[in-house]
């Protein structure tokens, strides 16, 4: 019995490294296994991702239930060297990382299971599985890492693998073109992020996020680095007006890849969150809960920075929601239309985050302590919750679009129609995804959107009015899709269309079940998964403390 416990504890200790290492190992084993048999290779890929997800869930369970922070230093030893240099590469997992790891593992699992049937007719599948496992490894790396440069490396790994996957169907010119756009955009974004990392390194001689967060002084160069980081990651996350690559790439990639691309986009968004609220935690959002007066003396808390940042983010968020929804209303290509909806959904997330920033700045500090106000905290929670819901809903819709492409070889909504007669389960899944994205109760999209509406209403009523209006427009856009693809008279050219294959239904079913579960028990998910993540972002001091134990701050207040 104790032996089992020891093994579990040992696995738990090493799981941060294993989560990234297992897909990497699997990626390079796949071409060798693919020489034996195709089915064995597919099964192997599913097995690898399932193993990774198992470790991710193990880790997330531990982190989220205990509220602890785990660090994993590669090569062993302590996080800091004797002289206090922070050059060792380490993974640091707190609530937010664990939360993102859950999302990534769900998406990865669904994506790999889905591709079993979906990619059956394509050639070169050895490479496909290698790339998909590489992309999963990169995604997990981005999410788990606690090192700036490592973040950049995993960002690039993800984008290279993603680009090759977008352009996987090289017989389609548009797909290749979308891949080229994606790689140009991500290369430029990543290079500017690297530039920002170099600026930070030049000042503090550290690449470790926790040490940087401890040291940061918000000099002029730091502000430049902040702007570079935010803009670079915002472009990777597809925020208007830097979103135009997103519909091109999402629309042209195979559906299983699109699902993972959603995950990669979320990971970039996570990066932006981590940069603003942990790395610049002293200056932006992090200080809020830790209104420790000793800490305050060293903190260069800049209330204007919060205001300006909140202003920028909210402006971009409103633009993102509006343009995403308007384009989704007009678009007639199935996958591009969902991609625009995805843009709008990202807008909701950053609207919440921007409101959190703004809520901090608008609280005047009578006791010289800027405590995150209740609406700000709620907005942060809503935004984080919506990351999960967005990934699931949009992912499910993309899978449905892929299933329709698989059975009819058609993506134009003008040519589809009456498919509900042939594809019952797919229709049900689409209906679930539609209602969830539009924020209809009792599905998951509603649970997070109500948080966003309520909190933004207290920040500024106009924001929540715009958000609700755009949600209705989003529903209208999806009703259009539902009408034109699934309803209507039975068409002769689709007489032979059958239900999607089993593996695709299983993948869609997984996502749909999770959506319904979250919809029915939003409180449970909110308290057990989302709140630890939001707390982890707010308590940036704990993040530093996990690496540098000399850095102690006492907790006061709380909610």
């Amino acid at each position: 019995m104790t032996g089992e416990l020891d093994l579990l504890a040992e696995l738990l200790k090493h799981s941060p490294a294993l989560i990234v290492a297992i897909p990497l190992l699997g990626a390079f084993l796949t071409p060798l296994i693919g020489k034996i048999n195709d089915k064995i290779r597919n099964g192997f890929a599913v097995f690898i991702v399932a193993l990774t997800s198992f470790f991710a869930f193990l880790l997330a369970n531990d982190i989220l239930s205990n509220g602890s922070i785990r660090t994993y230093v590669f090569g062993g030893g302590s996080a800091l060297t004797d002289g206090g240099f922070a050059v060792r590469i380490l993974f640091e997992i707190d609530g937010m990382n664990a939360f993102m790891a859950i999302i990534a593992s769900i998406l990865a699992l669904a994506g790999v299971i889905y591709s079993w049937s979906f990619m059956k007719e394509n050639t070169g599948l050895d490479k496909y599985y290698t790339l998909i496992l590489l992309m999963i490894a990169g995604m997990f790396g981005m999410i788990l890492t606690g090192d700036m440069f490592n973040f950049f490396v995993f960002l690039e790994i993800t984008s290279i693998a993603a680009c090759a996957l977008i352009a996987f169907r090289t017989n389609q010119g548009k797909a290749v073109d979308a891949g080229f756009k994606y790689i140009v955009i991500s290369a430029i974004g990543a290079l500017f992020i690297l530039f920002a990392i170099a600026i930070l390194y030049s000042q503090y001689n550290a690449l470790n996020m926790a040490v940087l967060a401890r040291e940061i002084q918000l000099t002029f160069l730091d502000k430049i680095a902040l702007a570079l980081l935010i803009t670079g990651l915002a472009m990777k996350a597809g925020i208007v007006p830097m979103h135009m690559w997103l519909p091109d790439a999402y629309g042209r990639a195979p559906a299983s890849v699109t699902l993972l691309l959603v995950g990669a986009t979320q990971a970039s968004l996570y990066g932006a969150l981590r940069m603003t609220s942990t790395l610049y935690g002293k200056n932006i959002v992090g200080v809020i809960k830790h209104a420790d007066f000793n800490l305050f003396s060293q903190v260069v808390f800049d209330i204007t920075l919060n205001g300006v940042l909140g202003f920028i983010v909210i402006l971009l968020a409103i633009l993102t929601i509006f343009i995403g929804v308007l384009m989704a209303l007009k678009e007639t290509n199935f996958k591009r239309m969902i991609a625009f909806a995805a843009v709008a959904e990202i807008g909701y997330i950053i609207l919440a985050i921007g409101s959190a920033f703004l809520a901090v700045s608008s609280i005047d500090s009578v006791t010289s302590s800027a405590v995150l106000s209740q609406p700000g905290y709620m907005a942060l929670k809503g935004g984080i919750f919506h990351i999960l819901n967005d990934a699931l809903d949009i992912g499910l819709l993309f899978l449905v679009a892929g299933a329709i492409y698989y059975t009819t070889k058609e993506t134009s909504l003008n040519k589809l129609g009456g498919l509900a007669r042939n594809m019952k389960y797919t229709t049900i899944f689409f209906l679930i995804g539609l209602l969830a994205v539009a924020g209809m109760p009792p599905l998951n999209g509603f649970a997070s959107k109500i948080l966003i509406y309520e909190s933004t209403y207290q920040v500024n009523p106009i924001l929540s009015i715009i958000a609700i209006l755009c949600s209705i427009l989003l529903l209208a856009a999806f009703v259009k899709v539902f009408h034109s693809a699934f309803l209507g008279p039975k068409q002769e050219k689709f007489d032979n269309v059958k239900e999607a294959p089993k593996s695709m239904l299983v993948a869609m079913g997984i996502l749909a079940c999770i959506i319904i579960f979250i919809g029915l028990f939003p409180e449970y998910v909110l308290n057990n998964i989302v709140t630890p993540a939001a707390d982890a972002l707010v308590n940036f001091g704990n993040y530093i403390h996990a690496v540098d134990s000399n850095y102690v701050i006492s907790l006061i207040g709380g909610f």
């Binding site: 140009v184 955009i185 570079l228 519909p247 343009i323 308007l326 129609g417 899709v481 002769e492």
Partner: protein, 128 residues
Amino acid sequence: MLYQISRFIEQWLDSFKTGSEAFGVGFWNPLAWIISIIIAFLIVYIIRGMGKNEYKEKTEQTKVFLSGNPEAEKEKMHVKASNVYWGFLETLKWLYKGLDKMHNGNVSDYVLWFVIILGVTLLLIGGI
């Protein structure tokens, strides 16, 4: 006894509010929504049951009747996706013209947008 019953009813009613700070006060409980959806389905079912039951398939009754006009092909009968919100799109044509220009598929322009936003952010954040 009476007190206990009234207390129980109160608690039951309370369960329809989410009862937490997070979701505010209101009938946002998923349970309430499921119950109301089931009730709505029941009502629809009852209304459907009230319909005439002399309906027979594949007879004159099921034929499409378009004010005496001949029925077009099935594919032509279906409202196309691009026609669904025609009025809305027509009204906002001025806006969509600009938006379409934005999404021109040229990666140079995409990068130009990035540079513009980068410049604005640098000015705003660096300027404070």
